[in-house]
Subunit: 317 residues, 6 copies
């Protein structure tokens, strides 16, 4: 009823005040997007020439974007960094280009880079911007790639000395421009394509980009929206991994060393630790499929997923 809703609203007052004006960086996977605008009305027929063209995505009903709009309305200053791996792979498939990964990083030759940049900066980014504007009911989003205002500066990434082509790691973030946009009330939506020496573009892992942005902005929170419930580890020793609700940096490193944290979670946690080291307040690994995960995390006493913080001595639950 209206009164229960009002009561709920009244209850979140302390959290609203707590986060008013704070910067929260949200890593959005880019894979929760719906079908193309008007896609239902005008689907390319199977046998038609456009068959297999990955549709331009729409975002009108993306719950995450509605939550981001609500964060903004409640005075939080959100920054979205997005990926788009699935869309990239679909396009590469359609074009007959193989997708190849080394340690979770996409090996990126010139042709792949061309596709990556187009899909991330031209398709996913614009779909998210449009969707966020729709969710907010007014134009609050500004989409950016690393070249815009020199936002993300990168150098080639050579993990273990291996050449991955146009894969980069971020060495500088133009926070002045981001702060200008935030000050003017906008929500920056950032595609992780960076620029290096001589104007060369680089494909950057989205988790890494989000961590670099959060660290450079000294964000209050960095939230990774994923498709798992959080960091899993067998803390109670019953042989079954549980979601670890809170981790400090040392414990996280220990868990990675012992293999308790492994697989795709390792680079994510490492990115989070870099953000913490650079000055972010806390890092959250959260299941983006859970309804209103962002709002629950920020505006209720019940945290979700795993929170990683810099300073504590091994408090784990």
């Amino acid at each position: 009823s209206a009164e229960i809703r009002a009561a709920v609203l009244a209850d979140v007052l302390p959290w609203v005040q707590r986060f008013a004006g704070r910067i929260v960086v949200i890593k959005h996977g880019g894979s929760t997007l719906g079908p193309a605008p008007g896609g239902d009305a005008r689907p390319p027929e199977p046998a038609a020439p456009g068959a297999g063209i990955p549709a331009a995505p729409a975002c009108g009903d993306d719950g995450v974007l509605r939550d981001v709009a609500m964060l903004r309305a409640l005075g939080v200053r959100p920054v979205v960094v997005h990926g788009g791996g699935k869309a990239i792979t679909a396009w590469l498939d359609r074009l007959g280009l193989p997708a190849r990964f080394v340690d979770g990083l996409r090996v990126t030759d010139a042709a792949t880079l061309a596709v990556v940049e187009m899909v991330l900066a031209g398709q996913v980014n614009k779909a998210l911007v449009t969707g966020l504007n729709q969710a907010a009911g007014r134009p609050i989003a500004v989409g950016l790639a690393g070249c815009d205002a020199g936002l993300l500066v990168a150098r080639p990434k050579r993990p273990g000395g291996r050449d991955l082509g146009y894969v980069g790691e971020i060495v500088r973030v133009n926070t002045a421009f981001l702060l200008q946009l935030l000050e003017a009330g906008f929500v920056p939506v950032i595609a992780p394509v960076a620029v290096g020496e001589g104007g060369t573009r680089y494909n950057v892992n989205a988790d890494d980009a989000a961590a670099a942005v959060a660290g450079a902005l000294r964000a209050e929170k960095l939230v990774f929206l994923t498709d798992v419930p959080g960091v899993m580890a067998d803390v109670d020793g019953d042989g079954e991994p549980e979601v670890v609700s809170r981790l400090d940096a040392d414990t996280a490193r220990a868990f990675m060393a012992r293999g308790e944290i492994r697989g795709g979670m390792v680079p994510k946690v490492e990115a989070g630790l870099r953000a913490l080291a650079a000055g972010a307040g806390s890092v959250h690994i959260v299941d983006g499929r859970r309804p209103h995960a962002l709002l629950v995390e920020l505006f209720t006493s019940e945290g979700v997923g795993t929170m990683v913080v810099a300073g504590e001595r091994g408090r784990v639950a």
Copy 2:
């Protein structure tokens, strides 16, 4: 649960955006205040010299103030105008001064004025300011009387030519100062004591003061918090008055002419019509005892009490 709360939060997005930055003037009766601070711990004993001294009120648990704090946190710019009739009458009783009313206006001689000013500007105002600061968890309220920065300028009010003593009607509001405070993020809390020529102070009816402030500020809404459910009238002709949920100015005037609206509601509705004429967006007569009446009114689709608007032709329900 946390998720239901988050879902509720997400649902209010359109309203939050609708009222962001808008001015809402709230008439607070001043009679919902709790006992004195430490009043429980140190009550003056019945036989003690302080017996019968009306206690300094506290406001920490005043639901209305918590709602006002929430309005502020949600980006609304509230202004509170308060009364204090019950506290004034209690003090006058204690001092052996009779309370006399003409058409709902307190006849105010010099001694009464001294008490009125002290109680309104010194006791009720400061209790509300303190309570609002407590509710917000940080100091957002600034208490003012009409003399402060020349806020409320009045002349003697002579209804039907009768002399009511130091009873005034407002002729000018210093909106510049109020806007400065609002811009700086404060919530003005205003005691309805105004100043006239030569520095003479005047007791002003709180509804009239709230209407003058709302009109001068061209407020989005003026909300009268009362202890009735709204404007009552027998609209459906079954001999039983119902709450009228929506009234336009012409209909309101017709109802008053026909006696459908009568008694203490008449000056309240008339004050509201003056506010509308001066530029306020809408006027709401709401039961302040209902939990979260302010939040329900602003942030749900279910209005409460009676809404009066300027422009429509007689739409009533």
Copy 3:
């Protein structure tokens, strides 16, 4: 004649330039106020029910307020902190509540606090604000109590461990809000009622409040307007105390230790020393009954009363 007046005006140029833009905190006793507005026209008759009600004071002819208005016009930024002991005692008498003091501090139970707050914040403060506006010919004064914008934060004062009830000492001053008002050209007029934990209000000694405000603002001068000519001490050893025109902190402490300074002057000097230690430029103890004492002190070469400074070695005259 006009020319002599102009010549006098021309002569004060150096002082006007010296104090332009500087903050001067003035402790106003609150006891120089005149009769109620319209009090002459409508006096409550002796036998009437209002007999013995202390009249609401007016300030139109208060010379101190005219001097404060002139300070403002000359570019000084004055802040007024006021007491109101006499009015409080008169009200307590009227209400049959005993006034009890320990070491010059009023023991304050809940009933007394209610009266203190009403009289200081509701009566004396508003009378001074109105009077200052009248003296200036335009609304330059804004009256505040400690709750407004969290201006004065206090904790219980327990001198020698004794419980005085709701008597507080100031632990924090919201200078940001005061500076905002000063920047906008207003003269803050402050009633010494502070707020502590949980919203509890505290009665604070006005000298202490003025010293706390002057220290926090690093005021150029703190002027105590009193009803004595200054600090008296038998400096020349003729057995007769003279006004000491200038004192440094060490000498002041020595005089207090030797009993040269005693009685009500001791807490005043101690308050002044705290202000100096916190960063005020100088402290002046001045006879507020002397015509234009403030203007003489600031704008002529002839100081009045006693000036206390932090840094010198025992220069006394």
Copy 4:
């Protein structure tokens, strides 16, 4: 020699002063872009999977961008609106999608729209932004599509009632955001993809988009960079068309009516006339292949191509 260069520099003083702070909108065809970054070093082999992938373009050596950077350095405030027809057609070819045109407008079904958006906003836009930043030696460009900050709002375009699919015409430009960027010293680079009701994206003709932006901004100049020398017409009646150096609106309309101006030049001139009607100062149709066409046009007495102005009566040369 250095001195000749300095003399040249000195000579342009009047023009530099003339255009300081003025907005100049430049329609860039998007087809002058060079090869991909590192494209020489790592060309996809003919037989390799990436064969036929249109390379991501680079812009480092694009003379137009260097001129735009120089305009900015000279105090002009340029805005770039770009097309990208060739790149779009290349991608559609690669994907086996037919490119179909009606009256010079690309019929745009959902699959085509997906490609158009990606190529314009993700590839050409980012290449131009990177190239402009390279040319300037510092990050001055910010790439935008119509969704960003609600920049370009469109509705479906139905020329002669024909349904062209997702082809739009611009109905509103968010000039506030553009002016904010210009004020901050940035050069907006705009891809002509607009957003309509419900978040539907629309493909907009780049000339139309440039004209809408120039009109909304009341730009000093709108410069169409083309691959012809200007508007051609047989003015002297020798049977051979010449470049018309100056046209007013009426004459332009007459030439179009008489068929003197025809083919692809007609919609370009019509777009220019709309910009003039909306408040642009003048429109220039210029050969972008000519070295430094922009600089010659603005900073020498020798205009290039055709200048169209609103107000004159038929002055033609």
Copy 5:
């Protein structure tokens, strides 16, 4: 005594408030200047080569400048326009150049213009600036001639068609620059040398220049400091002219028509009427030799000299 001085100070409060922030343009004759700096210590010996060189003037003891400094300190915004006829004539004498006047205007050939500009802008202006800074005890004055920031734009003045050489009349004043200086707290000191087409400098009558500046700035007052008590006319018909204390424009014109006002006073009054017509509040013709004439005029109820106002009907005393 100090108290009388303080009382005087207190009495001027209404006037100080009345003129706070208002612009007052003062025409200073430039002839009240004292001897050269160090002139006493190092006078050029009679027989020495420098004999007859008009000494560079000093201004340290110029009462008018001290009054101007006081005006500034009291919050008035003064602008000084000065003449320098005596110094010019002395230099022309020394150089053997004849001083020739037509209707009170100095016929100005190229050689005379060179001397006029040097003496006004180089000697008198700098002496006044230095003197005002000395009087104020800090650098508040900025000296300007008409060329600076395009302050005074003139065309040749041809009264009755006669050619006076480089004598100009002002056609435009750069008020923006003056307001910028006033806003920053400076006192502009203006030499009446203006600039016309092609950079030609013109000698402008100082009264005319002051009137042009006062009119363009819509000054509160324009004060002509002269060496007569004011406008003289035989108002009471006793055959003896008296000082007319107040004149409206129509009466002034009538007096000039009847010859009651004549001689050098005519162009001065005409200049004043132009200033009134352009928007100045009032014009004052005052004896600059009278001590503190400026302060008496502005800050006492006793006006001095003659006040000319635009709007009244013939009130004369």
Copy 6:
């Protein structure tokens, strides 16, 4: 041709960006000025009384001023400090006053000071201001002497203890005022007459004044425009001195010690070294007669004259 000119313009982009917003102080000799305005039209006849009056100079065709205007248009922030020795000497001659120099400094008695101030601040300064405004086509120049806003504060200069009369050396520069003017887009043009204690004016060597200003402003460059090609020294030991294109401070000092640099160049180099020590970026000694020497120096790769820098170890060419 237009295209060559555009190409030249395009080539200077790196330099334009390099110096955008930087302060460049230019010492202008004051001796390149042309004849008086209208001087041709109305020359004083030889036998006429004005014979021998040095004409008021004009500057419309001064190439240096056009270059300064171009610097400003290109975003540089120039400050001009000028001399005027030739004009002073001409006036002294005309007045029969001897010009006497000690170590290149003009011995300045009271009569000479009067002439110096008039000529520098009244004639040369105003001619340069007018000329710069003409060159720019709009009023960008503001002429100042040391008294204006307390710009240049000096004390007597006593080289080797000798008394030179009113010759001063600068001890303080009011950079705040200069920066305010620069921020507002103006070009300050400064006459080297400073003010000392008690308002005494001092004649300051123009090179010294320029160095003091450049040092105080931490200018990017200080350019001395002279009438020699630069610093001459026989670097290659062939017995013929060459222009030294680049010198560091140590080398400069060594050259002066060895007598390689001598005569009038010594005080100039010493002034330059003081500017470098105070924070100027580099010092340039350039032939002002060379066309566009300023533009060549700043905007081409070919430096002119001699550049002196602080930090290098003896790199000389």
